[in-house]
Symmetry: C2
Subunit: 393 residues, 2 copies
């Protein structure tokens, strides 16, 4: 099966999981000092010290902000915006974690809003949410600071709001995880995307800030476009693919002990405290780290050559993802390309280091295990062998 299928359901909904157009647009750009690293890394122009490098990263809450808006309209629960602030930040910090950076972050957040829908109170809660989340990270040993942000009134462009952050860090070059050491015989340690770490207050559903467009259409019913007209863009959207689910955000799901809204708005977990400890003990043993965001379990293919990645011992698929699949009948082949389906962080290491990493993660209350391994290959490829079948990418 073609892993770059631009005719997938996800693509018909206006989102490209494989980002072919974006990759084409940036293919001629400078890739930085370490072309296989998870984030672009550039020389330290600030000090010109050849032993250091800089990285600036941009990412955001994506269309999770729209779900938060609907949830807020229905529940009047203002705290949902704190989760969106966390989403926008973690989507940056946990990408930078993959290059080995877990400290000394400088953050900025940009909110573009339709001021007729997004009130000053929502703005205030988002901005306070940024500060509170950074404060909680500092209490967990992470040196991270806000340098400010921007709020723009863009009602003719933005129907509700976008929340995007930037994170910048400076890192010692000899501490960088550049993924070029990922090799045959490496094992892959996965860190669960669900459960509750010792530094968290609530259970994670496993969702981060990717795939939310599909989740929205797969789970939510036509009640939303019918009752909240003018909020959505149905331009070119195949009607039969829009809001095909049966749920409202306030529906309670017995099996999850949670409402649909709480489940899909579960704030993006950060793995920073865990990796802070992993790097202190094992930095030189780590060959590669992949954050399974857009691209899901296939994301690693962006960072290796001539390797066959075999994932044959994945986590049980969390409830939310099983629900999405059963409601949408999306193929499991595509599910693995859009969602993390159980672990959001994967580390490529030797067998002996793997055991230590698993122990550290478990000490933080996050399940971890060897989910696969790497083999020599004449081209890069990925095989997923799971309860749902065997899939090739």
């Amino acid at each position: 099966m073609n892993s770059n299928n631009e005719n997938s359901l996800y693509s018909l909904r206006g989102v490209s999981a494989t980002k072919n157009e974006v990759h084409n647009a940036i293919k001629n750009l400078d890739k930085g000092l370490f072309p296989n690293a998870f984030c672009k890394i550039v020389p330290d122009f600030f000090t010109n010290d050849p032993n250091f490098a800089l990285a600036i990263h941009a990412d955001g809450a994506g269309t999770k902000s729209l779900l938060a808006y609907l949830y807020f309209l229905e529940t009047n629960d203002i705290s949902v915006w704190k989760g969106i602030a966390q989403d926008a930040i973690v989507m940056n910090t946990d990408d930078l974690l993959c290059i080995g950076a877990v400290n000394n972050f400088l953050i900025s957040t940009t909110i573009c809003r339709n001021k007729y829908r997004i009130s000053g109170e929502i703005l205030k809660t988002l901005i306070e949410g940024v500060e509170e989340f950074l404060d909680s990270l500092r209490k967990n040993g992470i040196n991270i600071h806000s340098g400010g942000g921007e709020t723009a009134d863009m009602g003719d462009v933005v129907r509700t709001l976008t929340v995007d952050s930037n994170a910048v860090c400076r890192i010692k070059r000899n501490e960088i995880v550049s993924n070029h050491k990922i090799q045959a015989d490496d094992v892959i340690v996965g860190l669960s995307s669900t459960g509750k770490a010792i530094y968290e207050n609530v259970e994670n559903s496993g969702v981060a800030s990717n795939g939310l467009t599909s989740i929205r259409h797969d789970l939510l019913s036509k009640y939303y476009p019918e009752h909240f007209t003018d909020i959505f863009d149905n331009f070119h959207l195949e009607t039969q693919n829009a809001y095909t689910g049966k749920f409202r955000l306030t529906d309670f799901l017995q099996e999850a002990n949670s409402t649909v809204g709480q489940l899909i708005l579960s704030p993006t977990r950060t793995y920073l405290p865990v990796f802070n400890e992993i790097f202190q003990q094992l930095r030189n043993d780590i060959h590669g780290i992949v954050h399974c965001t857009g691209g899901g379990q296939t994301k690693v293919l962006n960072f290796v050559e001539n390797l066959h990645i075999i994932k044959n011992n994945l986590f049980d698929i969390p409830y939310l993802f099983r629900l999405i699949q059963s409601e949408s009948n999306t193929s499991w082949q595509e599910m693995y390309q859009v969602y993390n389906l159980g672990h959001r962080m994967e580390i490529y290491v030797s067998h002996s280091a793997a055991q230590k990493i698993i122990k550290i993660s478990q000490d933080f209350g996050i399940e971890a295990k060897m989910i696969g391994f790497c083999e020599k290959s004449d081209k890069k490829r990925l095989t997923i062998i799971s309860e749902k079948g065997e899939f090739h990418y």
Copy 2:
């Protein structure tokens, strides 16, 4: 007259020039090391060197991106997107210039698009536009680099696209312009927003990336909402205030020797090369710098206390701004609050330094002159005395 008039025409169009809601949302936040500085400045967490500081800044092209989209639809001129890339960057660098930073910038750009309207070709042109503009700055002696960016498909949130950049810099603390030295007897040097600097290829209309929502509605005709339905949000927008102008973007204006589209999409000028030279010669003489963006000629009021700012020798009002006023009948009181009306950069210095700054600016081909001065006062206030009358803020 009340300078915080939230019932102004601009406000009715969904944009707050005075940003009261935003200021309220951030009033409890840490203001950084230099509370009166134009941008938030924080300690250098990267090196912990007490002689240095960091600043990260976020801003973007605002609704100029929507105008670019309309212009592109009508003219098929893809190059308009290069101007938008420049807009998003300069709105950051030239804010940071006000704290004394003209070098060692790291940039990131985030594009949120509706992929059914914003093609891969447009993305590619925007991303190339970033690189080309940074390259042109480097050729003019400015050390500036791209650290990458993000493109998100957000069709249900974003009707067309948003283009936002972040810029980060590290600066010596003793080189920071913190505005706290602005004092009675300072003169104000204004640097023209129009003309063509020796490092530019085209004439500037004077517009930057502020006030574009008003410009769009004041100058463009109902042809746009009628022919491009579904692109705009008219939610809560008073119909009589929307697209009240008489123009199409392709209309040629004899007096400007330019089309309406070219005039209002004129890319935001950067003053970096000029200030690079000004700082080399006169850094210690500068008491304050204000970038007349949102807030226009009244922006300085955010950065002073107990001073009366008198602007009594302003530049002739550029053609574009005269056109906006005559077409919209906006009061001049409000015009000065929304647009720069002639100079976009103002420097607060002693009389002797002023002469040298004017000379440097003129050497770069940018008109400059003393546009006003400061007096002692029991509270902060601003008086504008111009060809259009006397205005108090």
